[in-house]
Every structure is written in C-alpha cells, then in structure tokens.
C-alpha cells in the first residue's frame, strides 16, 4: 500500500517545472521533501492533488493501486489523498464545521451535524485552536498559524490514507509547531497515514521524525537519505542544490 509517483513531468503554461519526479510514500511512513525555493516542491503537491493549473505531461500517480492521473481533485480526496495547502483561501460565510460536514458526507459517511461538531471541538482542543474560529468563516481573517492549524484539524477529521503537508510549519511559533507536528505524527503512527511533509527547516522534523528524506533540485529528486541529510542541510544550506 503506497502513494506511488513515477517519472512525473509537469508544465505550468509552457514552462516545465517538474522534469520527471519519482517517489513513494508507504502507509504509515513519514517522508520529508526538502529543497530550495523554486525547486518544485509545491508544484508537486498541487499536481498530485489535481490542481487544474498544473498540466501533467508524463508519468503516473497511483494511490493503493488506483490510477489518479485523470481523477478530479474531489475524486482524489475521496480516494484518500489530502493536501494541507501552503496558502489556504478563505471561504466567506462557510464555517469549518459546514465544510467538513459536507466533505464527510461527500465521502458517503452518514454523520450528523452534531457528531461532526463534537469531533471538531475535540480536535480543536487537542490542537489548541480557539473555539471562536470554528464558528467563523473558514480562514477569513485567520492568522497564518491559525490557518495552518485548521488544515491539520481538517486532515485529522478526514483521516486520509496519504497526506501532503505543504510548508505547514511556516508561520507557526514553536508551541504551535510542536502541536502540529505531534498531531501529524499521531496520524502516521496510529492511523497509518502516509505523510509527505514539505519543509525548508529542520525544526519541524524534530517532532515529526521522517523515515526518509528527499531533496529536490530544479524539478527533480536530487538526493535521498535518512535524518543525517537534514543535519547536513542545516549545516551547509541548499547551495549545492541551487
């Protein structure tokens, strides 16, 4: 059981941004994807989720044996993929409760509004999210950190098979970072969620320990290794990958 990406090439407009990326994330595995700005990490995340601006020209994406190449974003979501986006957009007039209730029902779960409310409140307490935010329009006027926590809350409620966390650590203070990382680690360990965590920094990986580390360079995976790669990057920076 795995999320398998093979030889993925992606264009934005006429520009090739990914030049053949291959990687695998197994169930319950945490894989870190690092690399300098502009190396294609976010493009990979959005292309995997089926964002319409990213045209896949070659390669394959396979989730537990199911071909995702022609699936729309909602079909990918319902197949078990989740993306905690780097810049969550606001949805005026729609609370996280309403959004999640609809998401769960779209999955065919027959949950009551009250059940969902309770589950969300429990997760919010766990993630130290102010209850007031649960009633407000999703992401509207939220701080950077609040948005990121809300992404993790949604991930935990939707319990995906595979989750991509796109720079979920940026904009978080150290306490929030710990909470978010522990929350994600719990998903990997207890729920067997395979996690692809995209980050620039070592600090998140202290709490969300990756099984493997990949480094991206100019739209390709340039290096693969263990935690020692993170230490090395922290020391010498991304120069050799730019």
């Amino acid at each position: 059981m795995a999320l398998l990406v093979k030889g993925l090439k992606v264009k934005i407009g006429n520009k090739e941004v990914l030049g053949g990326v291959s990687l695998a994330v197994a169930s319950g595995e945490v894989v870190a994807l690092m690399g300098p700005n502009g190396s294609g990490k976010s493009t990979l995340a959005l292309a995997l989720m089926g964002h319409p601006s990213y045209e896949i020209t070659d390669g394959s994406v396979d989730l537990d044996g199911g071909d995702m190449m022609t699936a729309t974003p909602d079909e990918r979501s319902r197949a078990g993929l989740f993306l905690a986006v780097q810049y969550p957009v606001s949805i005026p007039g729609v609370s996280v409760r309403e959004a999640l209730l609809a998401s769960l029902r779209a999955r065919g779960e027959s949950v009551s509004a009250l059940e969902v409310k309770k589950r969300i409140e429990a997760e919010a307490a766990e993630l130290a999210i102010d209850e007031e935010l649960l009633k407000r329009s999703l992401n509207e006027g939220f701080s950077g950190g609040e948005k990121k926590k809300m992404e993790i809350l949604q991930m935990r409620i939707l319990a995906p098979k595979y989750a991509i966390l796109d720079e979920t650590d940026s904009g978080l203070d150290i306490d929030a970072l710990k909470i978010v990382a522990t929350g994600a680690a719990f998903m990997a360990k207890k729920k067997q969620t395979g996690i692809l965590v995209i980050t620039h920094y070592q600090r998140l990986l202290k709490y969300l320990k990756p099984d493997r580390v990949l480094v991206m360079k100019q739209g390709r995976i340039a290096k693969e290794g263990g935690l020692e790669l993170v230490v090395e990057l922290e020391k010498s920076g991304y120069k050799q990958y730019e």
Partner: protein, 476 residues
C-alpha cells in the same frame, strides 16, 4: 467554465431542458369562467369594471389610467421590454365564479396545484391567513378567527373595495399615483385581485399573512393590486410567493403594492419570486412610513425572464425606518434588475439596503438603487451594501446606485463589491472531497448567508431550496 473536467452543461435554449429544474412548471386544464380577448382596449376596461360591479369612481379611475397608459412611454432603463408581445396578452382571465372559503370549494385541478406548491399545508401550520390568486382572480381566502375577532381585515382587493369602499377610496393610488410609471398605470387600468389588509391600532399579528400568485394560462397578464394599512402601533408580516407553468411564450406580471405604515407600526413584506423563466415581472412596490414606523422589504428574486422591481420606502415621519434585503439570482436567459429606493423626508429617519446578487450561465444581475435625503431630513442615516457574485465568464453584473443628498448633517455609507468564484476556492473545497457543483453551491450559500440569517427561518429555507435548484441547473 469547466476547469476540473467532467462537467456536462445543459443544452442551451430549450424550454424542455429548463423546465426540468423547475418544479412547478405544469399547467392545469381548466375551463375559465370568463376570458377577455387578447390585447387591451377601452371596452375591455369598462367591461372589466362592470363585471366587478365597481363603484363609479373606480371605473373612472381605470378609464383615466387607460388614457394615460396609451400616451406614456415605457421606462428607458432596466431590461429589454421590446420582447413583450402586448397584443398577445389576455388582460383578464377569470378562472372560477366565486372565491372559496374552504379548499373544498376550489376545483380539484386547481387545488392539487396549490397542494403541490404547499399552500394549504403552510396555512394549517404557520399562517394567520392565506389568499390564493389564480390568473386574474383570488380563488381562495382564509383568516384565523382569532385575528378576525381583533378587527384584522384580510380580503381580496375586489372584496376589499366592495366591503370597505371608503377606506379603499381614501388610500388607493395615494402611494403609487396613477401616472407613476407605465406599468403601474397599466395596473391601475386593469387591476384585478391582490390583497386588502387593515390592521387596527395596536394589534400585533403574530403569524404571517400569505398570498400566493399563480399564473396558469399562456400569455396571461396578471395585474394584482395590494393595499396594506397598518394602523398606529400595529405589526404584521405579509408574505407572497408565485409560480407559473413552463410555456415558451411569455406572460406579464405587473403588480402594484401600496403600504401605509402609521405611527409606530411595523410591517415586513417578504417576497419569494419564483416565476417560470418566461414571465416579465414588472412590479411597483412602495411604502409610506410615518413617525417611528418601520418598513422592511425582503425581496427574493429567483425566477422570471426579466424582473424590474425596486421596493421603496418613503420615510415621512420623524425616526421612521426603512430596510430592504434583496437577493437576486440570474441564470440562463434571465435578467434580474432589482434594488431599492429610500426617500428620507423627515429628521432622524434611517434606512438600510442590503443587496446580494448572483449571476451564472449567462444571466445578468443588476442592482439599481436610490437613496434620497431631502431638505429637512436632518440627522438622517442610510447604509447601502451591494455585493455581486459572478459564477462564470458568460455572466454579467451591473451596479447603478444613485444618491441624492439635499441636507447637511446626514450620514450615508455605501459599500459595493463584485467577486468571482475563484478557481482557488473551488480547488480548495474540491480537495476536501466536494464535487465542483457542491463546492460552487457552498460558496454561493456562504455568499448569501449574511442576508439569509436575517430572513424568517421558513422563508430562508424556501429560498435556499430554490437557490439550490437553480444551482442544479448549472452543472450536470
């Protein structure tokens, strides 16, 4: 519009396809008690008045209106009125001889239609009284005994004229004068049906009074006339709904509504307009609000081919308040030209207009509004918020606000936004598992939420349901 693949668009321009998302598009086969010929003549006007056994003054009023109508030009703003086939229209269609007091008296075919709409059920559960108009005549009416005992009058306009001739004569045509605009003049010449309501001093009517307007005939003209008088310190909520069969050729609905809100009275008038997309809906609605009175228009325009409607409040007494909450949804082949007018004549009067419009599938939504603060209206305050949401590249939204301020020491706020449903919003919700259609509907509901939460629950539910039906028509 499809950016996420797998979208099936409905065939364009076929009545059959459109009617599939319109739940009330059937017609009843009935034998009319009386039908006028097509087109409008002076003889039709005199015949109509004679058939109704009206007092002489009303007959003369109609004839005067007919003369003015012939000379008056059509409005030079709003939508395309050249498509109306004036000479094809039946200006008077009388379905049955007598207004029923129980549903048993209503012919089966007609009763079934109103059962499908849900009027008798609503009447039992939540209304203080109901009036049902079918083409030109009110065919059913009721009022709870407890309200009648308090002196509340809720009649068809024709009955009102017969039973309360002095009261009608005193107020009829005073808020919307005879020569106000071409459509109001037309109504003054050939009006038939509508509601007459009188709420005595200090009486608060707890349950809404509802009128339902149904057009059944093809090329029908429906010209109801409503007069509501809320005496000092009284309170009433009047609700109207409407629908029509799915014909290919158009019908015309040109109503006039006049409301008198006396000192300290409160009137709320809620409209859920769901005409089929062939109906021209050209309506004049106006309220006169006296000292410390409150008038609130809740105007939901979801159906019709063209709607031109700008409910107005004339704030005539100190501290009078006027409010309009307007929701418009323009889909394929529809133009909603809606808004509000607030005329401040007295000191410390306040008004608020909130308008939310949605256009999709090539529809056009126009906000047209006016706030006028006259000399002498010191300390007047007005706030206007109009937000438009455009769902695709083929659709259109326009905003035409007019502000006329003739007094110092007043406050006027105006906010307007136009937004498009963004790809990023759709992608975000879809990435959580919602289909493109569900995501779009959720964004639309969120957009309407600030207005919906101010509408009484039952009507908000009905409007939400209609919005959702409209949304179903946009994606397969």
């Amino acid at each position: 519009m499809s950016r996420f693949a797998k979208i099936v668009r409905l065939d364009q321009n076929t009545v059959k396809t459109l009617s599939e998302t319109y739940r009330l598009g059937h017609r009843d086969e009935i034998k009319y008690a009386y039908r006028s010929g097509r087109g409008l003549t002076e003889k039709l006007v005199t015949d109509l008045s004679a058939r109704k056994n009206e007092p002489l003054w009303m007959r003369e009023y109609r004839l005067k209106a007919f003369a003015v109508y012939n000379k008056m030009p059509l409005p030079n703003f709003g939508g395309d009125l050249s498509l109306i086939k004036w000479d094809e229209i039946f200006y008077y269609l009388k379905p049955i001889e007598k207004t029923g007091k129980t549903w048993k008296e209503v012919p089966d075919a007609i009763r079934k239609t109103f059962e499908k709409i849900g009027v008798p059920q609503a009447e039992r559960e939540m209304l203080g009284g109901a009036k049902v108009q079918y083409d030109s005549e009110v065919i059913y009416g009721s009022l709870r005994r407890s309200l009648a005992a308090k002196g509340v009058v809720f009649l068809g306009m024709d009955e009102g004229l017969a039973q309360y001739p002095e009261l009608v004569k005193q107020y009829f045509g005073t808020i919307v004068p005879l020569s106000d605009n071409k459509l109001a003049v037309l109504n003054s010449a050939v009006w038939s049906g509508g509601s007459f309501i009188y709420i005595p001093k200090g009486v608060e009517v707890g349950l809404p009074l509802q009128a339902y307007f149904r057009i059944n005939a093809e090329n029908a003209g429906q010209f109801e006339r409503t007069l509501i008088i809320a005496d000092e310190g009284s309170k009433v909520h009047y609700v109207e709904g409407c629908s029509a069969p799915a014909y290919s050729s158009g019908s015309l609905h040109a109503a006039v509504v006049e409301i008198i809100v006396k000192k300290g009275a409160r009137v709320q008038y809620t409209t859920v307009q769901n005409w089929y997309r062939n109906v021209f809906n050209l309506v004049t609605k106006r309220a006169w609000v006296e000292e410390e009175g409150e008038m609130r228009w809740i105007d939901g325009n979801l159906g019709s081919r063209l709607t031109m409607k700008y409910p107005a409040c004339i704030l005539a007494g100190r501290k009078a308040r006027g409010e309009t909450l307007s929701i418009a949804m323009a889909g394929e082949g529809q133009h909603q030209d809606a808004g509000a007018k607030m005329i401040h004549l007295a000191p410390e009067t306040t008004s608020q207009i909130i308008s939310k419009s949605i256009s999709k599938n090539g529809g056009r939504a126009t906000y047209r509004g006016m706030v006028k603060i006259n000399k002498g209206a010191k300390g007047a305050k007005s706030k206007v918020v109009c937000d438009a949401l455009i769902l695709d590249g083929a659709s259109r939204s326009d905003t035409y606000p007019t502000n006329i301020i003739l007094e110092n020491d007043v406050s006027l706020e105006h906010e307007a936004t136009v937004s498009k449903v963004g790809e990023e919003q759709l992608f975000y919700l879809m990435s959580r598992g919602l289909s493109e259609h569900e995501a779009e509907a959720m964004i639309v509901n969120g957009f309407l939420e600030p207005v919906m939460k101010q509408i009484p629950l039952e009507y908000a539910v009905e409007m939400n349901r209609l919005v959702e039906l409209e949304m179903e028509g946009s994606v397969g």
